[in-house]
Amino acid sequence: MAHVFPFSAIVGQDEMKLAILIAAVEPRIGGVLVFGDRGTGKSTAVRALAALLPPMKVVAACRYGCDPADKGSACAECATLKAGGRPKTRLAPVPVVDLPLGATEDRVVGALDLERALTQGVKAFEPGLLARAHRGFLYIDEVNLLEDHLVDLLIDVAASGENVVEREGLSVRHPARFVLVGSGNPEEGELRPQLLDRFGLAVEVRTPTELAARVEVVRRRDAFERDPEAFLARWQAEDERTRRRIVGARKRLDDVAVPDAVLERAAELCIGLGTDGLRGELTLMRAARALAALDGEDAVTDTHLQRVARPSLRHRLRRDPLDESDAGSRVDRVLAEVFAA
């Protein structure tokens, strides 16, 4: 892929773009799921993300690209490197790794290095996709078509932040903290509840129904295909602005205050919707804080909460067979109730 459609040039789909930006600012949000109509630029948006992310500092000699500042890292390589003093660092791009359908388990978790086994007769660990995605993003298009045993594996690693490989007499564990990004079309099949739960934010994308927006999408796509370089140049400044917004928000994130009143609102919302567990509230709070940071503010307000409520909660609602409305509008209804009070 020589050229990637620029993030800023995506027309509309504000909720999806917001969710992706929030995940870029706050990786602990736990992933983004983008579900919806065909041809709405789901994978375009995710692939465009890579170009937006500022490079990160990594331990130069570490195969997993660990953070030099990370003290409690579970990485064995870093432990040896750090024992000998301060390891060298370098800047590396944030990985956005594609997990293609049809990938086999050995490539996902890592396995014995085939090349070295064949040529040198040596047992060496060859890291897999999970290692490559460490500190970055792991993208699965058509996530609902992923094979069950890979889903199990992902759920496990995403939850623990660590990949444990026991095969061929090798015993390797390495950190694998990544933001899981999945996209798919609900018509192809539903997602397993356990995997659904791993995604912090869930976004529904719809095809725009307004003619002007549709024309603009087609026009930009066409312009991009005709002359990608000119098109990228035209959107470079806008992409740069977004990048600075992400960088600024990351710096600000820890200083953004979450007032008690907002926390209470978040709890009310979750109670009103009957979401299971604490994960909903936690995600809601983290997302709202990341949004406030993106907006350049020092404290989370009700508005932030309202804007992230749909993507944070819509996939956590219990099914109610008597409620015919979709999950998004149920969230809206409770939002209105809570904030009217």
Partner: protein, 588 residues
Amino acid sequence: MARAEVDPDPAWIDAAWAAALCTVDPAGLGGVVVRAAAGPVRDLWTRQLQAQLPAGEPLRRMPARIADERLLGGLDLTATLQLGRPVAQRGLLAESHGGIVLVPMAERLPPGTAARLASALDQGEVGFERDGSSQRWPCRIGVVAFDEGTADDAPLPAALADRLAFHVNLAQLSLRQCGAAAASAEEIVAARRLWPAVTLGDEMTQALCGIAMRLGVASLRASVLALRAARAIAALGGHDEVQEDDALMAARLVLAPRATVLPQPDDEPATDEPPPTAPPPDDSGEPGRDDSRDQETRALEDRLVAATLASLPAGLLAALPGGERARAPGRVGALSASPRFGRPVGSRPGEPRGGARLDLIDTLRAAAPWQRLRRATSRHRHAAIHVQADDLRVSRLQQRAGTATLFVIDASGSSALHRLAEAKGAVNLLLADCYVRRDQVAVIAFRGRGAEVLLPPTRSLVRARRSLAALPGGGGTPLAAGLEAACRLAEQVRRSGASPVIVLLTDGRANIARDGEPGRAHAEADALLVARQLRALRLTALVVDTSPQPAAAAQRLAREMDALYRALPHAGAAELSAAVQALPRQAG
């Protein structure tokens, strides 16, 4: 070729154009969906396509049940062992780079394979992460998908159909109605040189988007494809700018077959378009709404819409608004992976236990590359083959998802006891049928204040009979609760890969509401509400009226559920069983 005693059929002309355009820009246009069974007409079309393809560009056939290793690529075991280093082998997609892939029986393509094709089309490259190696190859291809399904079959996977620009239909044609190809190989080559430079006016973009919307074509990909098609058409015609006729043809070939609504040719601008989400246009604000689209664009669009409509085949309009064949939930692709039964579809790492069968060949393949290493490090140097636990592969089996019949039985007092006995008799007979067809059965009963799943889905006839025999009667009729339980169980069954069929035996006289409170009016309203929920699940359902006389309540319930209705007094157990047998077919 076919002597043109009669002029070629319009459908053929469209198909011939689709073939030509697809060769002008295979990767950009994605390809063609051809509705046709194997036969001389399709062969002729394929030959013409091949003749148009410039020399050296591959045209490859892909079997619908291709394994990942052949589709995406994998480790070339022979070369790897010979050369002593990993050698990757390209799959069919990478081998077809720069050409066209033919997919016969595309309607039977598993969703996973369709998704892999779609990803190759989107990214122009194919990658695999398999067998210890990772590769990316360029893969700019066009796909010709032959849809050989009959009207009852599930349609082509939408993920693929959406990405292929042209949808043509050769199913009704005879050889006499066919004609020559739309372009020669030389013309294709000339068009390829020309099309990158073809310009397209903004009014054309707007008009094509406008038509797409008025035809109810939701996917924006279709509009993008229409634009590319218009350019290719212009290039083939030797124009360096898209003309009105080119745009019209693009609309006819790309957008018309995707139509889901029928626009009025001289529609009032406000009637057809979905309500804009932005500021509501009042009538006086009409010019304001059109400011981006001047009169001329509008006129162009109208002309194009009218012409597109005129070109739509009559049958297509009759098929609307269903348009496409119904996407039945229990579609052909709904295959369930089961470790015990079915047809092998490759292997997965795992140990042969719990019914899983060892895939010996794949196990040996997995072990092969490591032999040298293991021989060097193993204590058993003289073993012929070193196989370790990690090598073990078991067969993945797939099974056509079966049917699960859910019996939902009203065991309340109003279904007087002898009626209950009769219902049990009928169910017993149905059970025997289910057993013959190896269907699963489940039993839900509702009485008193709630519903209970007496028997989760099972193939055990004995257990089903026993649970029925032990079913007591009496109490109120919590119909809503019963239906709700059926809803939940049906969804669960569907998730497990089987198609649920609901058989509801009741007199329809609900008197316990969903919250457990008595009260006829409330209870009936609740029941109808849940019935609509069931309808939304698009299940196959049968309502058996157990009241002494056929009652309006049960009939209404059946209507709300979109279910078949039978009254027990008139339906002997034998007839009931016939009705149930007819059900799955009715659902398609």
